[in-house]
């Protein structure tokens, strides 16, 4: 091929790629969910598993005839955790008539907040974004739909308290965290609860991205903590866990947030990490009925969105959880206004009227209201038994008064200065 033909061909193809959105938007009976997520930069395999779960669930819904005759279209793209790319993806989604956008990235979610509020597009910030977005009265179009980091920390403290016979008086809790805004986020809650429960909080920040934490963990060991929490993302998590094992901390007294998965355990060594605790926002594994249905109706016929062995992993199930809540929002929206029109406002009304939704046993009873976008703040604590995460508790919620005090305080600041 001549260079000139090649160049013009490529240029024409590049221009053509700008076209399809308009054709897709013109189609009828379609509800568009935009999922620009980070597949390549920071979250990588987390996104891959989460997104696979989302798409498999949406395939399941579509294969069963969709909702009210409408098919759900998941528009997946890669934003590489880069904000200009994410803003482009957001504008593209908006131009294409998407009613919901799920970027699964804290920096991107934070950056998109003013746009989503202005354009009335539902911004899903599950396990990411601003924790104070739980306050729906200030952030009507930002929906975490999952326990935020403040809640996760508060649940862990309550779990420690139960395990120690109902009191943390005089105990020492070490909080090892990545030294970024995300890592420091739980500190106000932990400090407040320290006052209330009487434990001693010692915080150990490590420098991002956290691929070397060897200086921190011997200090943690020397502090002789009763409980240890480590808070990070990506590579920092496996490094933290490796160092905790190397320093001989008792694994059943070490815990992290929702960001711990089977894939991390493969890196750390599945046997060595036995006992480590995590927060589980939904049931993991393949037992839940929805996962069984996906295996039978989507993965079985070869329509799965990714490798079959990832089905039922922790992050895969998070994806199914969120997709199920989103689709439940669509269902509720049709109940409220069967004739649409299908807009962000329409879906928002549906999402904020979800009540006691359990996704056939996959998730705790979740109620989203126009005021509470967190969905009740329920989760359970699970431990790694060497091959899978096994629950240590039922789904529960705790210390929500302290969490909501912080949410209100933070959202009030946003309200005051945001407009």
């Amino acid at each position: 091929m001549e260079r000139r033909t090649f160049l013009t061909g490529t240029a024409a193809a590049a221009l053509m790629s700008q076209m399809p959105i308009r054709i897709a938007a013109a189609q009828d009976k379609v509800i568009k969910f935009a999922m620009p997520q980070d597949f390549t930069k920071v979250y990588t395999f987390v996104t891959a598993e989460y997104n696979q779960g989302q798409r498999d669930y949406i395939s399941l819904v579509n294969a069963r005839g969709g909702i009210n005759g409408y098919q759900i279209v998941a528009d997946v793209s890669d934003h590489g955790n880069d904000q200009p790319r994410a803003i482009e993806a957001y504008e593209r989604a908006k131009a294409g008539g998407a009613v919901l956008i799920d970027p699964l990235s804290t920096p991107v979610a934070r950056a998109l907040v003013p746009r989503a509020l202005e354009d009335k597009i539902n911004l899903i910030t599950a396990f990411s974004g601003r924790s104070d977005a739980a306050d729906g009265s200030v952030f009507p179009y930002v929906l975490p739909l999952s326990p935020n980091y403040w809640t996760q920390a508060a649940l862990l403290i309550d779990h420690f308290k139960q395990k120690d016979g109902g009191s943390l008086q005089g105990k020492k809790i070490c909080f090892v965290h990545i030294d970024t805004p995300f890592g420091k986020e739980p500190l106000p809650i932990l400090e407040k609860l320290a006052e209330k429960e009487g434990y001693e909080l010692v915080a150990f920040p490590y420098t991002p991205p956290g691929n070397d934490q060897s200086a921190i963990w011997p200090q943690v060991r020397r502090a002789r903590p009763d409980w240890t929490m480590f808070w990070g993302a990506g590579v920092g998590q496996t490094v933290a866990l490796t160092e905790a094992i190397r320093n001989g901390l008792p694994m059943d007294r070490v815990s992290s947030s929702v960001w711990l998965s089977e894939s991390d355990m493969d890196v750390v060594g599945a046997a060595a990490a036995t006992g480590v605790l995590k927060v589980e926002p939904c049931v993991s594994g393949r037992e839940p009925k929805l996962i069984q249905d996906i295996l039978k109706e989507v993965v079985g016929p070869g329509k799965g969105a990714g490798p079959e062995n990832k089905v039922g992993t922790a992050y895969y199930n998070y994806g199914v959880m969120l997709a199920a809540i989103m689709v439940e929002g669509v269902r509720k929206a049709f109940e409220k206004a069967p004739d649409g029109p299908i807009t962000g406002e329409w879906l928002n009304a549906g999402l904020t009227s979800i009540s006691n939704f359990e996704a056939e046993g996959l998730i705790p009873p979740t109620t989203v209201t126009p005021e509470d976008h967190q969905g009740g703040g329920k989760a359970r604590i699970a431990h790694w038994d060497g091959s899978k995460f096994a629950p240590d508790s039922d789904f529960f919620t705790a210390n929500q008064d302290v969490v909501w005090e912080e949410i209100k305080k933070s959202s009030a600041v946003f309200k005051e200065t945001g407009k």
Partner: protein, 357 residues
């Protein structure tokens, strides 16, 4: 063909010294400027806000860095931090109720003040050592922003930009944001086009080529190196303010990390060191190639029914992007601007093959 030089007789020095002596270049520049002015009415929102607006902002930043790297020959790996200083200063000043115009200048001044301190190392070290010094600055600024909640904005580390007015017009929505960014871009572009023709620009060129040779012929390298850092950092600060107010509207520390600095250095090098046009080309390539290639692969996968896995689908664009940058630099090491210049030279003497010079 397009560049008709026959019959152009310069009878005055001014006419020969103008930026674009050929009518074609002049008309092209005017046409592009008119297009930029009319763009909000010609383009849909997606292309205006998703492409054109970030392009002109990043191009302005690349111009500022190109002034330092291409004009004065000083490498800078902390330009993103300078933009961050400008952004945070501007936002904090507007939040304190100061007018946007003053805040923009304030952001530029603080950025310039910090930039000149670290730039002072350029008086002692060169090349790779200067790169290390500026890299240190990047990390120090990142650290300071993250460690002081008063700067970064509390536990959520996100500062919302308040509604501001520019010369009495509220900067709300796409149109005013775009025109503010365009105005700053035009001013910086005009400055860059003209600085090379001034004694200041020539002094910088002398410093760039060999600083002690410049000192021998009487150029005060101390003064000119510091001034180059001052001007470049000032531009970074102003761009930071524009970036925060016109584009991001919420700022957080991760927007100004090392990635931004590296991205800008890449824009300058791929575009062409010292070239005004190259800064625009480089910004376009570095910013939009990943997006366009991504969509290309996506639509190809759909159109041809290719069953490629999500992982490959996500990483293929990155491979192509890397290959594209290397390809362009192999084809023309002097950058995209040089490719444009080659094409222009070809048409300058068309239908003959070679220019005499």
């Amino acid at each position: 063909m397009f560049f008709r030089r026959a019959g152009i007789r310069h009878t005055r020095y001014q006419s020969e010294r103008q930026i674009w002596p050929l009518p074609f270049d002049r008309r092209l520049a005017i046409l592009l400027f008119l297009f930029a002015l009319a763009a909000p009415f010609l383009l849909d929102r997606l292309h205006l806000v998703g492409y054109l607006l970030p392009w002109i902002i990043w191009s302005t930043a690349a111009l500022g860095l190109n002034f330092l790297m291409g004009g004065a020959g000083q490498i800078h790996l902390g330009y993103g931090a300078l933009i961050g200083i400008g952004a945070y200063t501007t936002v904090h000043m507007t939040r304190a109720g100061m007018p946007f115009e003053i805040a923009l200048i304030g952001g530029g001044l603080l950025s310039a003040a910090v930039g000149i301190v670290f730039g002072a190392t350029a008086l002692r070290v060169k090349g790779i050592y200067l790169a290390m010094a500026t890299l240190a600055m990047q990390y120090i600024v990142d650290f300071v922003i993250v460690q002081f909640p008063a700067i970064s904005g509390g536990t959520q580390a996100a500062l919302t930009v308040p509604r501001v007015r520019f010369l009495g017009i509220p900067v709300v929505g796409d149109l005013p944001s775009y025109y503010v960014a365009l105005a700053v871009c035009v001013i910086v572009t005009l400055f860059m086009l003209n600085v090379k023709r001034s004694s200041f620009g020539r002094a910088l060129a002398a410093v760039r080529e060999k600083d002690y040779a410049a000192a021998v012929i009487g150029v005060n390298t101390f003064r000119f190196k510091l001034t180059a850092f001052w001007v470049s950092s000032f531009i970074a600060g102003v761009v930071g303010g524009v970036l925060a107010v016109c584009y991001y509207r919420t700022i957080s520390p991760d927007q100004f990390h090392l990635e931004l600095s590296i991205q800008l250095v890449a824009m300058v090098i791929v575009g062409g060191l010292g070239s005004v046009l190259g800064s625009f080309f480089g910004a376009a390539l570095i910013m939009f190639a990943p997006i366009v290639i991504n969509q290309l692969i996506g639509s190809l996968a759909v159109a041809l029914g290719l069953a490629i896995s999500a992982d490959l689908r996500a990483h293929l664009p990155l491979m192509l992007y890397g290959a594209l940058i290397i390809g362009f630099l192999l084809w023309e090491p002097l950058g995209l601007a040089k490719i444009y210049a080659n094409i222009r030279n070809y048409f300058l003497v068309w239908p003959f093959r070679h220019a005499r010079h």
